[in-house]
């Protein structure tokens, strides 16, 4: 009875294609980002260039990774700093 009512009035009506599309969308977010370690490496190099303008980074400990949750992705970077550049602190003052 409840099923009938909810089909009559509610979301059941929209059919299983909505579920298919949503599941596909999520799985592709994961798939597409995991396809290219090459892209991650390029990103890492460019980040290093930009950050190095302002501070000295410990390159060996520099890490950039994609971390996935249940329904989200995050770009997580760990950037150990060796030393701040003097030029930067001077412009700040």
């Amino acid at each position: 009875m409840w099923e009938f009512l909810s089909r009559l009035f509610g979301r059941e009506n929209e059919g299983s294609k909505v579920a298919a599309k949503e599941r596909l969308r999520l799985v592709l977010v994961h798939d597409r980002t995991s396809v290219s370690p090459c892209l991650l490496e390029t990103l890492k190099e460019e980040l290093l260039d930009v950050i190095s303008k302002y501070m000295e980074i410990d390159q060996a400990g520099f890490e950039v990774n994609l971390e996935r949750g249940d329904d989200s992705m995050a770009l997580v970077a760990n950037i150990p700093i060796k030393e701040m550049k003097r030029a930067l602190s001077r412009t700040k003052n």
Binding site: G15, S16, K17, V18, A20, K21, R23, L28, R32
Partner: protein
């Protein structure tokens, strides 16, 4: 002017690559183009049976590559039109009997003689796929409106780009208008939204395909079949003609009534 080589691929198995290759090949040939079909699924060849040419095989692709025969000796002429030949592959060899560079050279030779070279790719993304893609100028991706098939298609699009094949044409196979209407099957817009590549054709699910495969007679030969009509439309689009897509929602009672009274 050399011809054009198209690879027909999908990632996932069982979505209709071989049927598509057979129908597009025969369709193009019937419209006057010289066409060569290449079965790149070494070890699991099927294009020969779908075309109904399995009894005529003497030499195969691996024989050509190993130098056991000349290319021309391995080409099987179709029984329906002189414009079409099939290059079958070996059934008893492994996929790595062929290297991508060899495949490239072979396809190049075929392009000198034929307007279209259609390469039927195996499922998967390994050696056989790389061989199939090696000599291709353009790609056609076949998918069905299912999560697994569309996901694999997306992966293949990425891999094709990595090999320099951009904007493959998409064929959505086995669409069931009744299920689309109920909202129980992803429709064309849903899939195009996700994959973001140009649509080349939509083929309805059709018992006629099974009947025609049973007989070894591709369904393009049957003008009254909806799927045959869909494949013929794709052939014309490949020639550059603008052909409207079949209306996949057009089988409802209301639509049928409208057609009956001449409203559409």
């Amino acid at each position: 002017m050399p011809g054009k080589a198209l690879v027909i691929t999908s990632g996932k198995g069982g979505v209709g690559k071989t049927t598509t290759t057979a129908n597009l090949g025969l369709g193009l040939a019937l419209r006057g183009h010289k066409v060569a079909l290449v079965d790149a699924d070494t070890g699991l060849r099927n294009l020969d049976v779908v075309m109904g040419l399995e009894n005529r095989i003497v030499y195969d692709l691996v024989d050509v590559i190993e130098g056991n025969c000349r290319l021309a000796q391995a080409l099987i002429r179709d029984k329906r039109t002189r414009n079409l030949v099939l290059l079958p592959t070996a059934q008893s060899k492994e996929k790595d009997a062929v290297k991508p560079e060899q495949m490239k050279e072979l396809v190049k030779q075929l392009k000198d003689e034929f307007d279209y070279v259609l390469i039927d790719s195996p499922a998967g993304i390994e050696h056989g796929f790389r061989n199939a893609v090696a000599g291709a100028d353009e790609a056609i991706i076949v998918t069905t409106p299912e999560v697994a098939a569309v996901r694999d298609a997306d992966r293949i699009i990425g891999l094709l780009e990595a090999s320099g094949l951009y904007d493959p044409g998409l064929i959505i196979n086995r669409v069931r208008p009744d299920m689309v209407r109920r909202g129980d099957m992803m429709d064309i817009t849903d899939i195009i939204d996700i994959l973001a590549i140009p649509l080349l054709g939509v083929v309805p699910d059709d018992e006629g395909i099974i009947v025609s495969t049973n007989r070894g007679e591709p369904v393009v030969l049957n003008g009254r079949c909806r799927s045959g009509e869909a494949f013929n439309n794709i052939v014309r689009r490949l020639e550059g003609e603008e052909v409207p897509f079949l209306d996949m929602r057009g089988d409802g009672i209301l639509e049928r009534l409208k057609r009956l009274v001449g409203l559409r």
